[in-house]
């Protein structure tokens, strides 16, 4: 299972699977809500909510064939658990959000 990268977009390994394409599209549609939840938790300083949200995303993204998000989510989760500096957490969050914004439904050409 590997994610296909096409210019700036990330496509799921299951994006062209006729059985899963619809679910992948739904997962992509819901991504802005996940990103907002991550950002809101960070802005309000709710580290437990941030950890739970990123923990969910870590498990779900790879399961949906968006493998590139998994190590970024794991890095953020680890930095929260290890009570890293705000600077480290913010950098991890920005990297993850940037990757989340690149996910697309369908498959690469």
């Amino acid at each position: 299972m590997s994610m296909v990268q096409n210019s700036e977009a990330y496509f799921s390994a299951y994006g062209s699977d006729p059985d899963l394409a619809e679910l992948v599209a739904m997962f992509v549609d819901e991504m802005p809500d996940r990103v907002k939840k991550l950002q809101d938790a960070h802005t309000t300083g709710n580290s437990e909510s941030l950890r739970q949200t990123v923990h969910q995303l870590k498990g779900a993204a790879g399961s949906y064939g968006f493998d590139q998000l998994t190590p970024l989510a794991a890095a953020l989760e680890d930095s929260i658990r290890d009570q890293a500096t705000e600077e480290v957490i913010k950098r991890s969050l920005l990297a993850l959000v940037a990757a989340c914004n690149r996910v697309r439904a369908g498959a690469a050409d």
């Binding site: 299972m1 059985d19 899963l20 679910l23 739904m26 997962f27 819901e30 739970q52 923990h55 969910q56 870590k58 498990g59 779900a60 993204a61 790879g62 399961s63 949906y64 493998d67 998994t70």
Partner: protein
Amino acid sequence: MSLLRQGVNLVVVDDDPSMVRLITKLLAGAFDSHLHIESFTDAESARTRIDEGGVDILLTDLEMPGSDGLDLLRDAKLRKVDTQVVLLTGHSTLESLMQALELGAVDYLLKPVDHQQLIDLIRESVRRQLRWKQALAQTWQIERQRLPMKADPAATRIQ
């Protein structure tokens, strides 16, 4: 197989609705209608279903807000001791895995979920559950044949 015709009841629990959708879709596509799948996104609703009885396989996330998979594992085993429990986990401590084993979990599945591994694991749980059902049905029949002789004095007199 007649036991298979009776069906196997699987309950899926994960606090992430997208994971529940994916797992349900994958399993519904891999198994026929004899595998009855019910899914829940919170532990409390799942507990209510477990308490109603008849859950043959429980596939549950280990880490959920408010409750966790180990609590559901305990409940499921108390309600129906032969329930096959498979835990889903993003990361686990050795302590939580050992605890799960002690409580009777049969297996665990790491997230991100490998689709084929999920299907293989549930297939094995279905087989294991059917073997239990068969053994219990056979034992019950043997017991039923013995019981009337003990319980019914008339039957004893005729013999």
